[in-house]
């Protein structure tokens, strides 16, 4: 049993964990700038931009990630868009999480008292300075718990890319489970590994929250 685990399962699981971490982290890194842009569009006073962002957010939050992945993997090639599976998976995850993060950030910006912005304007700060030094730091601090939740959710959601054939922790578990005929053991192992990853992210998030709260007087 231990032999089997070391020789057959371990290398596959190591690859799987690396892939899951890559996709979960990568989609947050790619998705965050998109989220900031979409959030800015959603909060702008220019009608068409606002409408576009509203539809973007509503569609991506209204349609399951599973369906979005199916669209990326089956629909786009038919329409002549061909990208590598890993890139399609990463991009789909990033687009999906950007819609959720945009809504979270909007909540953060709306949570900043308007008086602060007026005070900053009167103090002579430019629009850019206000955004960078007054609004963004506070919005991120206000929304950090929600953003950490979103990161945990994306670790779990990234398991769906296994369905369209991309290697990740779930796919690794499937491969090992079918080659060793021990699904119970190896899906349990995969579940435990996911639990370790999601709990680490949540713990890291709480640490970050405490650190950032230290700046608040």
């Amino acid at each position: 049993m231990i032999d089997l685990f070391l020789t057959e399962a371990l290398p596959v699981f190591v690859d799987g964990i690396q892939a899951t971490l890559f996709y979960a982290l990568g989609c947050l890194v790619v998705g965050f700038p998109i989220a900031v842009l979409i959030c800015a569009m959603r909060m702008s006073t220019i009608g068409p931009l606002k409408a576009l962002a509203t539809v973007y957010i509503s569609f991506l939050r209204g349609v399951p990630l599973m369906v979005q992945l199916l669209i990326s993997f089956y629909c786009l090639p038919v329409l002549g868009v061909n990208v590598a599976p890993w890139a399609a998976a990463l991009f789909t995850l990033a687009i999906c999480t950007s819609a959720y993060m945009a809504e979270i950030l909007r909540g953060g910006f709306l949570g900043i008292p308007y008086g602060q912005i007026e005070a900053a304007q009167i103090s002579g700060l430019t629009r850019r300075q206000i955004l960078l030094w007054i609004q963004v730091p506070q919005a991120v601090r206000l929304t950090l718990p929600a953003l950490v939740n979103e990161a945990v959710a994306m670790v779990k959601a990234s398991s769906l890319i296994s369905v369209v054939g991309v290697l990740d922790l779930t796919r690794a578990a499937q491969n090992v489970a079918s080659s060793t005929y021990q699904p119970l053991t190896f899906y349990t192992v995969a579940g435990a590994l996911y639990l370790v990853i999601t709990m680490s992210v949540a713990t890291g998030g709480r640490w970050l929250e405490r650190r950032m709260a230290a700046g608040r007087r």
Partner: protein, 218 residues
């Protein structure tokens, strides 16, 4: 786009749609019941039981639903626990949602001031009466938005069920797509279904929230 693939296969699609809705409502409602039961036990107990229920919700919230479904459907048979795909899907949704309902209800119970429960006990109400007449009505106002949100999230989780060969809407439409290569039409229909369902559930939730908090406004 040629939508005749959808109209030609409508009985099959309708069956898938009904199954998706049944599994969503069935799984989420039984998850709600199980979650309420576990939370009630949790807040009325200390020590091992409290931590066991805390652990239950931590584990099933921290592991992807996909892995839980694989465990039930493929892992179950090795210990003699054989389930049909639909039963495994229903059980999976129930367990997954119950783990989140527990947390919502526990937070709700904790929001009711302790003094009220003590006062009710001294007034001679038994535990069940306290639960039904004191705790549930008050916490409901606070937790209805979270409950609605979870129902919304669970609509989207049903799209995963097709992976363990449940013939739900996702499986039916994707199947039609792969035999006719009409992926654009079938996936468009699938996305539209979920989008509309989600908007409807969200709207119904808003009505419910207004009703639950009605007495606060007066």
């Amino acid at each position: 786009m040629d939508f005749s693939v959808l109209t030609d296969n409508w009985p099959q699609i309708l069956n898938g749609l009904v199954l998706t809705l049944k599994l969503w409502l069935g799984g989420t409602l039984s998850g709600l019941a199980l979650g309420l039961l576990l939370a009630t036990i949790q807040v009325n107990s200390i020590g091992v039981v409290w931590h066991a229920i805390r652990g239950y919700s931590a584990v099933f919230r921290g592991v992807p639903l996909l892995i839980q479904l694989f465990l039930l459907y493929y892992g179950g048979p090795s210990i003699g626990f054989v389930l049909s795909p639909v039963a495994a899907g229903l059980l999976g949704l129930t367990i997954y949602s119950s783990a989140q309902f527990v947390e919502i209800f526990r937070a709700g119970f904790e929001s009711v001031p302790r003094g009220q429960i003590e006062a009710a006990r001294i007034s001679g109400l038994n535990r069940f009466q306290i639960l039904v007449h004191i705790e549930l009505p008050q916490m409901l106002i606070i937790i209805v938005p979270s409950l609605v949100n979870l129902f919304v999230i669970m609509t989207k989780e049903t799209a995963i069920l097709s992976v363990i060969s449940i013939p739900d809407l996702t499986a039916v439409l994707n199947g039609i797509g792969s035999t006719t290569y009409a992926f654009a039409e079938t996936l468009f229909a699938l996305a539209a279904f979920y989008w509309i369902l989600l908007e409807c559930v969200t709207m119904a939730g808003r009505v419910l929230e207004r009703r639950a908090s009605r007495y606060l406004i007066r």
